[in-house]
């Protein structure tokens, strides 16, 4: 197990390095720091001096990979690649374009993100799996057909519709919850209910249909017939045997997203005014703040790789035959 984990960590390094090279290529080579300065200064204020000043203020006035003017080891280390890209590995995210420390912002903003994403994830998983099992329980009847049609219809609706519709109905028309905003502490729930509900409804079509397909495939297998022949009740067969055996594909899709819950959802957070990492990212994209975008890409990749390792570990828990070596 320990051996396996060590190997996975080593394997993560080239992947993160690849991610960094990719974003570095996009943001520093395809787009030069000069382009960046021009965008930020605006068309009216572009002069050679202004660009130079902007670059030195934001630390972009260095060569890409090799600094001929520096001495010794600094020839390699005093470059954009080391300063802006490799330093991400030690969580030194640097400052955003408005001069704030990105690492501190991330530390503060991940909690509101988690407050929305975690309940959505847990309640969603339970709800979708139960709904799918319920459909499978009534398989072949009108209830099942109706449920599947409902799922397809729900998944054909744009996610933006759920957000806008939910905000309009629950916030504006019925005055159940504040339309947007967030408040830490005990009053947070008032702001959490609507985003969570909206995300749940938005995801039900896709996920339930997927789980139903898994369970239907499982229920045709011999062990299910055996279990029923032994006289077990339908519910017991479903919840114990079918669910248990469908666990591996469920875990494959589910565990990998757990670490990413920290990053929140772009759409939900920006519509509901949650001061989390999702809205942080969307603001950065709209303000073309590449420093933040780079940091979030790195963070996202790191969390994804952690998710992959967690997935493998979860297999050993779901299926004793799986051994990690």
């Amino acid at each position: 197990m320990l051996n396996y984990l060590l190997r996975r960590v080593l394997y993560a390094i080239p992947i993160l390095l690849g991610v960094n090279l990719l974003t570095f290529g996009l943001f520093f080579m395809v787009n030069t720091p000069d382009d960046m300065a021009r965008i930020h200064l605006g068309a009216k204020h572009v002069t050679a001096e202004a660009i130079k000043r902007w670059k030195s203020e934001h630390g972009y006035d260095k060569p890409l990979f090799f600094n001929a003017s520096a001495a010794g080891a600094e020839k390699v280390s005093d470059t954009l690649f080391v300063e802006k890209s490799l330093k991400l590995f030690v969580f030194d995210f640097g400052a955003s374009d408005d001069g704030r420390d990105i690492a501190r912002e991330i530390g503060q903003r991940m909690w509101p993100s988690l407050a929305i994403a975690l309940p959505t994830f847990i309640v969603g998983l339970l709800a979708y799996v139960s709904f799918a099992l319920w459909l499978v329980f009534f398989r072949g009847t009108a209830l099942d057909t109706g449920g599947v049609i409902l799922c397809v219809a729900l998944m054909s609706i744009s996610g933006l519709f759920y957000v806008i519709g939910g905000q309009y109905l629950m916030g504006k028309l019925w005055h159940w919850f504040p339309i947007s905003g967030y408040q830490p502490g005990l009053d947070a729930w008032k702001f959490m209910v609507m985003p969570v509900l909206v995300s749940l409804i938005g995801g039900i079509g896709d996920s339930s249909r997927f789980y139903r397909a898994l369970f239907i495939e499982e229920i045709g297998k011999d062990y299910v017939r055996t279990a029923r022949a032994k006289g077990l009740s339908d519910l017991r067969v479903l919840f114990k045997h079918v669910l248990g055996n469908a666990m591996i594909p469920i875990l494959t899709g589910v565990v990998v997203v757990i670490p990413r819950l920290f990053m929140g959802s772009l759409i939900i957070e920006s519509f509901f005014g949650i001061p989390g990492l999702g809205s942080y990212t969307i603001d950065a994209i709209q303000a073309q703040d590449f420093a933040i975008v780079r940091s979030m890409v790195f963070l996202g990749s790191l969390l994804y790789i952690i998710g992959l390792v967690l997935t493998d570990i979860s297999y050993t828990w779901a299926d004793p035959r799986v051994r990690l070596e």
Partner: protein, 383 residues
């Protein structure tokens, strides 16, 4: 009126796509294994109905892809001058909708404007009331903020949605096919390298990777603004760039499926036999592997299509979608979502965008189910 046809890049790619499909259909028209599943799709009531809806959408999209510019009236003998506004055959058909512009919002089939204005009566007395529309009762779905007909906007959005759905696939397919099959068939180092490539791409959060690439493209377009003759050409290039980005980032899912399938196929007797006879790798790949994974490719293509149409709206909202000046479902929603706070509510623009998108995506999803059932015997009756 004199016109000059204009071939935008996306139009050219659509023609290429159509030509490819036509050639494939022509070549395979006698092939029973090719025809049987499609016959099954078209014989089912659901398959035929959704195919009909989809072909109406495609028809509108194609009409909207025949672009031209009008010749400006000028003195005879003078060199021809053309308007900077690129129009399409659909615009020509919908001319009344396109040119009958009101001042601002008006509800569906309304006779008066949405907002009150100060009007000077015939007796010179000023009063505030809803001014009558210039074209009362003609706007079936109302008008938007600058008075454009919402039905016209919705019909124009169809092309954008279809383009994103189809061109992305066109760009994604070569990557997925070559890399996925190569990884599975050759194994070893090649497999390692390809797996590394798609794990790396997969590990970056999708929206962020797309956003990063789109931001870069945006900067490049802004710095080379002089390369584009018309606004339509600029937004067209941005749309293509978006498709390219979605394609280059989106091939991983299909490639993984194809890799697994190729891994399985390569051990089967008919491939082993071909290899024993000394058939070259290239020939095995083309003649024995490719035809046997085509059902996976087709199924994925139709399933991905609806997801891409929906993604356009979200990406445009994030600000990394199509050009803000281009008519698309995402831009329609974006422009109207804040108007729900007004009293009375301006709902028609949102409703129209969501409805047109819903019908398209629902038809595509249901059609995809039929195609999957017909092509993948294992999935029958599953969903």
């Amino acid at each position: 009126m004199m016109i000059k046809p204009v071939l935008l890049w996306s139009d050219a790619l659509i023609l290429l796509l159509l030509a490819t499909v036509a050639v494939v259909v022509w070549l395979a028209r006698k092939n029973e294994t090719f025809r049987a599943p499609w016959r099954q799709v078209m014989r089912s009531r659901m398959g035929a109905a959704t195919a009909l809806i989809l072909s109406v959408y495609v028809g509108i999209g194609l009409l909207d892809s025949l672009h031209y510019v009008e010749r400006l009236p000028g003195a005879p003998g003078q060199e021809a001058q053309y308007s900077g506004e690129v129009l399409s055959a659909l615009d020509a058909l919908l001319t009344p909708l396109r040119v009958n512009v009101e001042k601002t919002y008006s509800a569906p089939l309304a006779t008066h404007l949405y907002a009150k204005e100060t009007i000077t009566g015939p007796d010179g007395v000023e009063y505030r009331d809803y001014p009558p529309l210039k074209y009362p009762g003609t706007h079936l779905l109302g008008t938007d903020k600058v008075g454009q007909d919402v039905l016209y906007l919705s019909l124009k959005s169809i092309r954008t949605g279809l383009l994103i759905g189809s061109l992305t696939t066109l760009i994604m397919l070569p990557f997925a096919l070559t890399l996925g099959i190569a990884a599975g068939y050759f194994g070893g180092r090649i497999d390692d390298a390809i797996q590394y490539l798609y794990t790396t791409l997969n590990s970056i959060p999708g929206v962020l990777l797309i956003a990063a690439a789109v931001l870069v493209v945006q900067v490049q377009i802004e710095t080379h603004a002089d390369l584009f003759e018309t606004a339509a050409a600029r937004s067209d290039v941005r749309l293509l760039a978006l498709c390219a980005i979605l394609g280059v980032t989106g091939w991983t899912g299909l490639a993984r499926l194809l890799r697994a399938e190729a891994l399985k196929l390569r051990e089967l007797e008919f491939v082993q036999a071909a290899r024993a006879f000394g058939v070259t790798d290239a020939r095995i790949l083309l003649r024995h592997l490719l035809p046997n994974v085509m059902h996976l490719v087709l199924i994925t293509v139709v399933i991905d299509f609806s997801g891409l149409v929906l993604a356009e709206a979200v990406l445009s909202y994030v600000g990394v979608g199509v050009d803000p000046g281009m008519i698309s479902f995402g831009n329609m929603i974006n422009g109207a979502r804040l108007e729900l706070a007004r009293e009375p509510v301006v709902w028609w623009q949102l409703a129209a965008a969501f409805l047109f998108m819903f019908v398209l995506v629902l038809a595509a999803n249901l059609f995809a189910d039929q195609v999957r059932d017909a092509l993948d015997p294992k999935s029958r009756g599953r969903a």
